[in-house]
C-alpha cells in the first residue's frame, strides 16, 4: 500500500535521510523504530507531505504522493497524529471529533443559517459518525467533557478518534503511547488491533516503547542516522547485532 523508494532528504548540508526504502503492506501493523535523531519523524513528514524529498519518491496505492501538499495527501486517505497533541481545549470531546468530520460536509452558509434539510441531515450524520469513533476508542462516557479537562491518556485517545473521523486507509501514529503507563498502552494496542481487524485499516507507527512495539507490530523497520539498518519481524530485529549495538551504544 505504501512504498518508500530510495528517499533521501538533505537540509542545508545535513543529510537527514539517505536511500531509505520501506514497504508497508495493506492491513499490516508496521513499526518504525530507531534511536533519537535517527530521522523517524523526518520520514513521516516526508510521507505526509510536510517535506519534499530531495531524491526518491513515495507512492501510495500506486500513486506518487511525494511533493504533494499535506491536505491533498490527507484526502488521498493517509492520516497522521503529531507528537504534541493539538486538540481544541475549550471544545468537548464530541465537538472536537465532529469538527474533523465537518471538513467533509458540503452544505453552504445559507443551509446553515436557515437549518435546511441537507444541513440537518449532514450534521446528524457527522454527529453519529463522531460518536461511533469515540465509542471505538472507548471514550463514550466523555462525550461532553471539555478536552482540556481530560487526563493525558484520554487526550491521546481523543486524538486518535479525531483522526479516524477523517476515515483514513493508512494511519500514521507518531509516538502514540509516549508518557503512558502499562495499562494505558495496552489499551492503545488493543485499539490499534481493532483499527485493523474491524476497520480494515493499515497502521504505521513510530515508538520508543520497546515492549509495546515488539508485542504489537508485525513488521519493523529500523532507522539509524537517516539510513535503514534492518527490516523484518520482531524476533529477527531483537536478535540483530547492529540494532542492538546502535541502541546500546547510545545508552552508554
Amino acid at each position: 500500500m505504501l512504498e518508500v523508494n530510495n528517499v533521501g532528504i538533505v537540509f542545508g548540508g545535513l543529510v537527514a535521510l539517505d536511500q531509505v526504502n520501506m514497504k508497508v503492506k495493506k492491513g499490516e501493523i508496521h513499526g518504525l523504530i530507531g534511536p533519537n535523531g535517527s530521522g523517524k519523524t523526518t520520514l513521516i513528514n516526508v510521507i505526509t507531505g510536510f517535506y519534499v524529498p530531495t531524491s526518491g519518491e513515495v507512492k501510495f496505492n500506486g500513486n506518487v504522493i511525494s511533493g504533494k501538499s499535506p491536505h491533498l495527501i490527507s484526502h488521498a486517505g493517509l492520516g497522521r497524529t503529531f507528537q504534541n497533541i493539538n486538540l481544541f481545549p475549550e471544545m468537548s470531546a464530541l465537538e472536537n471529533v465532529v469538527t474533523a468530520r465537518c471538513v467533509h460536509t458540503n452544505y453552504n452558509m445559507l443551509d446553515a443559517v436557515f437549518k435546511t434539510k441537507p444541513f440537518k441531515e449532514q450534521e446528524a450524520e457527522a454527529r453519529d459518525k463522531a460518536i461511533s469513533q469515540l465509542e471505538f476508542v472507548g471514550l463514550q462516557d466523555d462525550l461532553n467533557t471539555k478536552a482540556k479537562n481530560l487526563p493525558y491518556g484520554k487526550r491521546r485517545l481523543l486524538e486518535i478518534a479525531r483522526l479516524l473521523a477523517t476515515d483514513p486507509q493508512l494511519v500514521l501514529l507518531d509516538e502514540p503511547v509516549a508518557g503512558m503507563n502499562e495499562q494505558e498502552s495496552d489499551e492503545v494496542a488493543r485499539i490499534v488491533h481493532k483499527m485493523r481487524d474491524v476497520g480494515g485499516r493499515t497502521i504505521l507507527l513510530i515508538e520508543h516503547h520497546m515492549k509495546f512495539v515488539m508485542n504489537l507490530c508485525e513488521q519493523l523497520t529500523v532507522l539509524n542516522s537517516g539510513c535503514v539498518i534492518a527490516e523484518g519481524v520482531p524476533e529477527e530485529i531483537q536478535n540483530n547485532q547492529e540494532v542492538i549495538a546502535c541502541y546500546l551504544g547510545k545508552r552508554r
Binding site: F50, S74, C102, A112
Partner: protein
C-alpha cells in the same frame, strides 16, 4: 449632558471603525503569528478606490461599496500569493520588515498615482437627526454603526456556519493538524488575508467621507487600531472590536474633558495603563497548549 452623549456616540462610531481595522490585524496575527504592518494600507486603498469609483466612474455608492470591497480583498489575496507566502517559515521580525517595506512601496506608489491632495466625499446616508440637550446627533452615526455590525455578523456566520470558515479557523489554530485533516492551508491563508483586507477596506470606506480621502488615511488610524488590537488581546476577535470601541470612546471623552490638543497622548497613556493590568489584553488569558 448633550455634549456627553454626543461624544459617546462619536467615540463609538470612530471606535467601531478602529475595531474593524483592529480585527483585520488580529486575524492575521492569529493565523500566522505575525504582525502585518502593511494592513493599514488596505484602509487607504479601500477609501481611494471607493472615491474613484464614485467620482470618476459615477457609480452609485452601494455598487461602489461592493466593488471596492471586492477589489481590496483581491489586493489582500494578491499580496499573500505574491509576497507573504514566501516568508511563511521565517521569523516574526523578518515578516514585520517585509510588511513594512511593502507598506512603504504601496504608499508611495499610491501617492504617485493619486497625488498628495486630500479630496472630499460627502456621504450623508440620511439627513435625519435627533436633539439631545442642545446638541444635534445625526442618524448617520447609527447607519455607520449598523453597517459595521452587519459586516461583523456576516463574518461571524461565515466562520461558524460554513465549511470554509471552519477550515480557516482550524488552520489559524494549528496549520499542521488542519492540513492533516484535509484543509488546504494555503487557501485559508489567502482567504485570511482577503478578509483582513476587506475589513480594512470597510473601515476606510466608512471613515473616508467623515474626514477626507487621501493617502494619509491609513496611517492616521493605524496606530490607534494597533493599540485597539493589543489591549483587546491580539488574536482575540471580540477583543479587537471591543478594544476599538474603548479606544474610540476614551479618545472622544479625553478630548472633551481633558485636552483636545493632546487626545492622542491620552489614548496612548490609557493603553499603557490597561496593559499594565492585562498584559495580554483584556480578553485574552495566556494561551496554553497541552
Amino acid at each position: 449632558m448633550g455634549l456627553f452623549i454626543l461624544q459617546i456616540v462619536n467615540g463609538l462610531v470612530i471606535g467601531m471603525l478602529y475595531g474593524l481595522a483592529a480585527l483585520g490585524f488580529s486575524m492575521i496575527f492569529k493565523a500566522l503569528g505575525y504582525m502585518n504592518f502593511a494592513h493599514a494600507d488596505t484602509i487607504m486603498i479601500g477609501a481611494i478606490v471607493y472615491y474613484l469609483l464614485i467620482t470618476a466612474l459615477n457609480m452609485p455608492f452601494y455598487l461602489a461599496f461592493f466593488l471596492a470591497l471586492i477589489l481590496t480583498m483581491g489586493y489582500g489575496v494578491f499580496t499573500e500569493k505574491i509576497l507573504f507566502v514566501r516568508f511563511r517559515r521565517t521569523s516574526p521580525i523578518t515578516f514585520m520588515l517585509v510588511a513594512m517595506s511593502l507598506s512603504t512601496v504601496v504608499k508611495n506608489v499610491t501617492l504617485l498615482l493619486f497625488g498628495p491632495l486630500p479630496h472630499g466625499l460627502s456621504m450623508n446616508y440620511t439627513d435625519a437627526y435627533f436633539m439631545v440637550g442642545g446638541m444635534k446627533i445625526s442618524l448617520n452615526n447609527f447607519v455607520i454603526l449598523g453597517i459595521a455590525l452587519l459586516i461583523l455578523l456576516i463574518l461571524q456566520l461565515f466562520f461558524t456556519k460554513t465549511k470554509f470558515g471552519l477550515s480557516i479557523r482550524m488552520a489559524q489554530d494549528d496549520p499542521d493538524t488542519a492540513s492533516v485533516m484535509g484543509v488546504n492551508v494555503l487557501s485559508t491563508r489567502a482567504a485570511t488575508f482577503g478578509i483582513s483586507a476587506g475589513l480594512g477596506c470597510v473601515a476606510g470606506m466608512l471613515m473616508g467621507p467623515m474626514f477626507s480621502i487621501s493617502t494619509e488615511l491609513g496611517t492616521q488610524i493605524s496606530l490607534k487600531s494597533f493599540i485597539s488590537a493589543v489591549i483587546g488581546g491580539l488574536g482575540n476577535f471580540v477583543g479587537s472590536v471591543c478594544g476599538g470601541l474603548i479606544v474610540g470612546v476614551v479618545e472622544s471623552l479625553g478630548a472633551t474633558y481633558v485636552s483636545s490638543g493632546y487626545k492622542d497622548v491620552i489614548v496612548y497613556i490609557a493603553g499603557i495603563i490597561v496593559l499594565g493590568f492585562f498584559p495580554y489584553g483584556i480578553f485574552r488569558r495566556v494561551a496554553t497548549k497541552h
